[in-house]
Symmetry: C2
């Protein structure tokens, strides 16, 4: 078993985390992208499965794993609600149980003691479907939703100001039953059986205290969080996440991902996680001409280069004009509106392609389960507001929305979220 650090270098280089919350000037953005381009220009092909099954990321640490960790290929994400009889002590016990189980499973061990052949007259501690499987790069990331801070658990005064349900955005068509949640667990792994096993066993530990509100599988990552990863493609067939924040940019990660001392104390070293289930009407998309698809995205389909350039990691030139007075990268293209120079901020994307079978119209129920990590949900909102005029909106619907505060990592002997109850 190889043990690797959960991402790039841990930011201990003295760079202040008190920088302005996610708002930057064009100059800073340019520098960030230039650095990215210099180290990643050699990627030509998509590598779907670039993780070693023996990967085992440490569970304990300054930050939770599953944030800057190189994005694993498979996802099982679950949101939970506390049951009506759950107490503050039940919640604390649940977070302790989850921490212990997550620490074991991420190292390739089963939940509990003598999991399988121990006590014949009791149910096994571990459900068993991952027996014999390697750690497979499993990370388990635990978060708390806005509703946890109501009157039930005495946590109202610990609520971060920015932890509120996201505002309604243009083209939102949200379903309440698959939005929100008191708690969340993000399980990512190279092997879906390992990710599913993790969610199932944490769900089982929650029996009587919390139940799943909704859950989502993702079969393929749609971004990279390391310059060592090739850029994957989304279900529009385009490379996605080329300009994503990378763990090899520690100053930018510090500035845009990790919470500093501007927030609740218990959130220092944490981050905020946003999920958006984005259904793509891929049958309609597939009938759009190549030129129009590329104008909508603002990049070429094959190479993934900005329309102003020729290679994937070329910096987009948003000023470059066409002979008829327009812009080579159209003003309502996705790449322009999502770009820091337009949105004014950056986020760390960690989303997944999904296909949930097909719908009653005989269309694939498919799209992007978007996940982003940021120092404040306000960063996501800034990007999403910028996308209001995105021509891509014709082909997508946001059907679920959730936001969770991700506490910092736990130290051995403690548990995730302990700071909430100090």
């Amino acid at each position: 078993m190889t043990t690797r650090t959960p991402g790039g270098p841990t930011p201990q280089d003295g760079i202040s985390r008190r920088a302005a919350l996610g708002i930057l000037g064009a100059g800073t953005a340019g520098a960030g992208f230039a650095a990215g381009a210099a180290t990643t220009a050699s990627f030509a092909t998509q590598a779907s499965s670039d993780g070693d099954p023996r990967d085992a990321y440490p569970f304990y640490g300054e930050h939770q794993a599953g944030i800057t960790t190189p994005v694993q290929d498979r996802l099982h994400f679950a949101a939970f609600d506390l049951t009506s009889t759950a107490t503050r002590d039940d919640l604390i016990q649940l977070l302790k149980d989850w921490t212990d189980a997550a620490a074991a499973m991420t190292q390739g061990r089963e939940v509990g003691d003598g999991a399988v052949d121990g006590a014949p007259l009791l149910p096994p501690d571990d459900t068993g479907e991952a027996l014999g499987l390697p750690p497979s790069g499993l990370t388990i990331t635990i978060g708390v939703g806005p509703t946890l801070f109501d009157e039930r658990f005495g946590l109202a005064d610990r609520k971060p100001t920015d932890l509120e349900p996201l505002p309604l955005f243009a083209f939102d068509l949200l379903e309440e039953s698959i939005s929100g949640g008191d708690l969340c667990v993000q399980a990512c792994a190279h092997d879906p059986q390992v990710a599913v096993h993790a969610i199932r066993n944490l769900t089982r530990l929650a029996f009587g205290t919390a139940r799943i509100r909704w859950s989502q599988l993702g079969f393929g990552r749609t971004s990279s969080t390391s310059t060592h990863q090739a850029t994957p493609r989304n279900l529009f067939g385009f490379k996605d996440g080329t300009a994503n924040l990378k763990s090899e940019e520690p100053a930018a990660v510090d500035e845009f991902v990790w919470v500093g001392d501007e927030d609740q104390n218990w959130m220092s070293g944490g981050t905020y996680l946003v999920t958006r289930k984005i259904v793509m009407t891929i049958e309609n998309w597939d009938r759009v001409s190549l030129a129009e698809q590329e104008d909508i995205v603002g990049r070429s389909k094959g190479e993934g280069a900005p329309l102003s350039g020729s290679a994937e990691f070329d910096d987009p030139d948003f000023e470059l004009g066409t002979t008829d007075g327009g812009k080579v990268i159209p003003v309502d293209s996705h790449v322009r509106l999502a770009h820091p120079t337009t949105s004014g901020t950056r986020i760390l994307r960690r989303g997944y392609n999904f296909v949930d079978g097909s719908n009653a119209l005989g269309q694939l129920d498919a799209g992007l389960f978007f996940i982003s990590m940021q120092r404040s949900p306000a960063q996501f909102s800034a990007v999403q507001r910028s996308l209001a005029t995105d021509t891509m909106n014709e082909y997508i619907r946001h059907v679920s929305s959730a936001v969770f505060a991700i506490p910092p990592g736990a130290t051995q002997g403690s548990y995730v979220g302990a700071g909430l109850f100090d």
Copy 2:
């Protein structure tokens, strides 16, 4: 790119396919299992991902690939209905288009010509999300359902006698909307993005002629079809498919899988594919004691050994008695009732674990998408009838059912199902 044969040796050794249709004596079964045990006793751990991304299985050949091919890790299965205006010629054209596209995609090529950067003013021929991905062991297996042989396409006299919707079995709770279908496509690959890309592009080629009736993703194989594969675990946490038919038993594969000359001429060298979506009530299962779980399955949970033995590939001894007059392998255990000595036949299983999110009760919507291949659907029915008293039935529900005739493989220049229209 490595090219491998789609399974074990092609059965050209002169063994007659006219043997009695799937009914055998205990002696024959014993011999088959002994051979299996001799070659597979060294498997100790589960290997989830034992395929090389460069694997490319030939599409053309005596049999379709995806049957005896070593089971890939990921599945996208789709059933299609012809549209109300589709003609016999449309059906033929669709099968030709699917054949050409499948031949390209299984070799890691895109659908069509100049797929991505060709004609800017047209939609791309290929949807693009698999660009840059290796073949990933993709197989595409095409079948035809009972309803195709009604009055619409002049095929009534080509209908195989045994191609009928399966009878209702004990504990069936079937949903019509996810059962049956005029056509089916099974796409299996090491990479889910490659399997999804295949179904999507074949669906797109069908536009106006056929539409998806239902589709299902599976994230992990629950059986092996080669002695070179480790035995995976199902969502009950038990090893599954230990005693499955293996491609290394060509005589048994000939006897139990490939159609001979007893059927319609166009089915010679084909097989029958049965799908059953089996929902597992895993939350209930997880609260059952280890001893009871093992009595229900008839095998130990850790090793997967029959309760009468100590190692996974030990032959089960169904006669071994307990001191209180019972049997060590209980009479209503799954392994006994599914075993050839009880059911009287064998089938080639090729199923997948699935999790489709969660249901309104906060339970995972999870289970086994069962797929089996057999010379006649009667073999599946014999096994399923034998399972009527299976104590496992308390924890499962069959919610969908389908049966398809799988024509033999196509020769280059022809197409799958051509024999139907001779």
